[in-house]
Point group: C2
Chain length 430, copies 2
């Protein structure tokens, strides 16, 4: 790449950066919780359209993806699950095509009084933007878009097709990214600016969500001895699941990318509900669990062991023995994915391009990291033979209170992304 | 009482019994859950009015009762909390006045699929009526009303004022019965046909409801080590509360009426809620607890110990230590009450009248029982110097699934109640 273009791209990012922050703030103000992504997607579609991209906006139909590998089961309707893809069609198509992917959905804010300021009223302070979803991952959606803008501002365009994806469902199933695949969007590489502090993600875990339903005979609490408490009956089940978690994390069971981590696989009881009345012994409880698995670990085998552990714990409990728990799956059925295991020339070349772009933009070498979460990268890597680079800005407290993203980090990532696009796709005159 | 009147009253109860069952079924079909008692109270007011009673129907105003002993704190509005009292004014007023009390509110049905038939579509089978609230305590409301009807059918009326009360809020605060007191309804005795199998309740426990709120810093589950799970943090707190329950039940702490019971005081975790998202470490949980106390045990001292136990458990927990739990009271602040400790002539006389009525109606002696629940009897006994007799039909699975009441038991209680009214109040010609 010409030094001149690099400088011009950086200048373009800098010149537009106030607008990029304003864009991020506006996008973060849309409370795009699961089922409420519509207004944010309208905003994204309008922004893409205003820039001249071909906009594809469609509602996901479970029937289109149910049969595909990587599909995660869902409960309830998908009426509000809308994806947006903006396409740049290259004139020359002489370069390598690229998917720029990001998710629009955000996780719930939790109790509002734990926030220093309202989660969907983003504010900038001390170089950070605060707000739910600002880091995870609307700053990434912004860096993808404004990196493309920088090329435009320099009078050039990617010399290959680029698909800008704003997808739903990353935080619970990944079915948004899967629906993009099913709709035919493929490319030579994918970039996903999830907020992992400007590091390249070389491996990510798989994630399984399951729900445990306990039921039993309730009674007036005056006769508590003859009833059984479906809330407290969960305690030994949860303990047994933690013992399983401990076993799965044992050194001999670890994937090589995680060999140095004592506890990569976290089991999280994320939601719990039970009982209807304070003076009735609760007849039911339901809790939602997230469990991670290593790349290469089979989902089916993991599910079988989860079910066995739950049923064994139940059989050891007087109450549960007579009304065995039900395990329901809705949400993540996500396999792990290790970019580090992609031995293709294309992967090596994409990583090399990002290495170079990052180094040029930041002056530091690109650090590799195996992460203990999942991302949509798995769909590209596992099911579409497409190396997926997860590389995005620094954020803090994602899924927590006072989530924030560092603006200078977003600037650096935007610059690196612009360079990466120019290198990977090549450029053509507009 | 003349043998002749006794026979005529029994005949009257028998003749009206099909109508009484139909009344009970219709009343049970009203889903009079907390906040939804209106249609049932409309029905009760209409039935009382049709019989010529003076009907008083009013909305409870918390301001009228907040300052009174026995008041229980409430959350939320009382817009739908409506009491109904039907009054019989005696012509001669030569006898002793009587309150016939019953509660119209029922507890939630729980998961519908645990019921053999829908809880608010009562059905009769094998001599039992099935349905939520049929036993607790709409059969008692029916026996009170149809006992009065039996006198009417015999051409007589109570020779003292009788106040037929259909109250709300028995299942959570007792503020419905308290509001009757505040409105000026007092009498020489009270009868409450709660479903305790034709036994006379000589003592009842006090009940305290409290809610525990846990909060903390959530995070993405990928970093679970740095967050803390507000759901699992409840486990040691619940364990500490059970240890307290164990201490309170120790032999040396028991009220004499409960000396023979190893575990009269039950602590029930009746509801639990926590977390917002399966892959976020939960930042909050809330659970609702019911704890019983013995008659004579101080509510303030009990609350102080509950709070101390919760805080001590929290201080021993890494997560909770930094965000101590909050204890919120809403619902029962109920003292225990022992009719057995009422040494008044009036109490002895009321008990003797019921002894006689029960024996005449059933051919068996009246058995005494100390119960492990609370009832509205405490308001009359503790705060209005009125002996309160709790005596009602046999029911099963109250607060459970397939709640049912035995119809022949309701018939016997109706007969005994008619006799008791005629004896206690005396009779006058209509």
């Amino acid at each position: 790449m010409q030094t001149d273009l690099k400088t011009r791209l950086f200048d373009a990012v800098d010149r537009a950066f106030d607008r990029q922050i304003a864009f991020l703030a506006e996008l973060t103000a849309h409370p795009s919780l699961r089922g409420q992504e519509q207004s944010a997607q309208d905003f994204m579609a309008a922004e893409l359209s205003a820039r001249g991209y071909e906009v594809d906006r469609w509602q996901i139909d479970v029937e289109d993806i149910r049969h595909l590998p990587g599909f995660s089961p869902v409960l309830g309707p998908y009426e509000d699950a809308v994806n947006v893809v903006g396409t740049h069609r290259a004139r020359t198509r002489k370069g390598r095509s690229l998917i720029l992917n990001g998710h629009i959905d955000v996780v719930p804010a939790g109790p509002l009084d734990m926030w220093d300021s309202p989660p969907f009223e983003p504010r900038v302070a001390d170089g950070w933007l605060y707000g739910r979803g600002g880091g995870d991952m609307k700053a990434g959606l912004a860096s993808n878009l404004f990196a493309l803008d920088a090329l435009t501002a320099c009078g050039v365009a990617p010399a290959a097709d680029v698909f800008y994806q704003s997808v739903v469902e990353e935080e619970c199933t990944g079915n948004g990214a899967l629906a993009c695949l099913a709709r035919g969007y493929t490319a030579d590489a994918a970039l996903i600016p999830e907020p992992f502090a400007e590091q390249l993600v070389t491996a990510q875990l798989g994630v399984i969500w399951f729900q445990v339903h306990l039921k039993g005979l309730p009674t007036h609490v005056a006769y508590a001895g003859s009833g059984a408490n479906a809330i407290e009956a969960a305690i030994p089940v949860i303990q047994a699941l933690h013992e399983m978690e401990h076993r799965w994390n044992a050194a001999e069971n670890r994937h090589s990318d995680y060999a140095h981590m004592d506890h990569a696989l976290n089991l999280n009881v994320g939601k719990f509900q039970g009982g209807d009345w304070t003076s009735s012994v609760p007849a039911w409880s339901t809790f939602d669990v997230r469990m991670a698995i290593f790349p290469g670990q089979s989902i089916d085998a993991a599910k079988a062991e989860i079910e066995r552990v739950i049923l064994d714990a139940a059989r050891g409990n007087d109450f549960l023995r007579n009304a065995l728990p039900e395990v329901v799956y809705h949400g993540f059925h996500a396999e792990g994915y290790a970019l580090s295991e992609d031995g293709s020339e294309r992967a090596a070349s994409a990583i090399a391009a990002l290495d170079q772009a990052h180094h040029t933009a930041t002056g530091t070498p690109l650090v590799r990291e195996a992460i203990t979460a999942t991302t949509d990268a798995r769909f590209f890597g596992l099911y579409a033979d497409t190396p997926a680079l997860v590389y995005g800005p620094r954020a803090e407290a994602i899924h927590g209170f006072n989530e924030r993203v560092e603006l200078e980090s977003m600037r650096r990532v935007t610059k690196a992304t612009a360079l990466f696009i120019a290198d990977w796709c090549g450029i053509e005159e507009r």
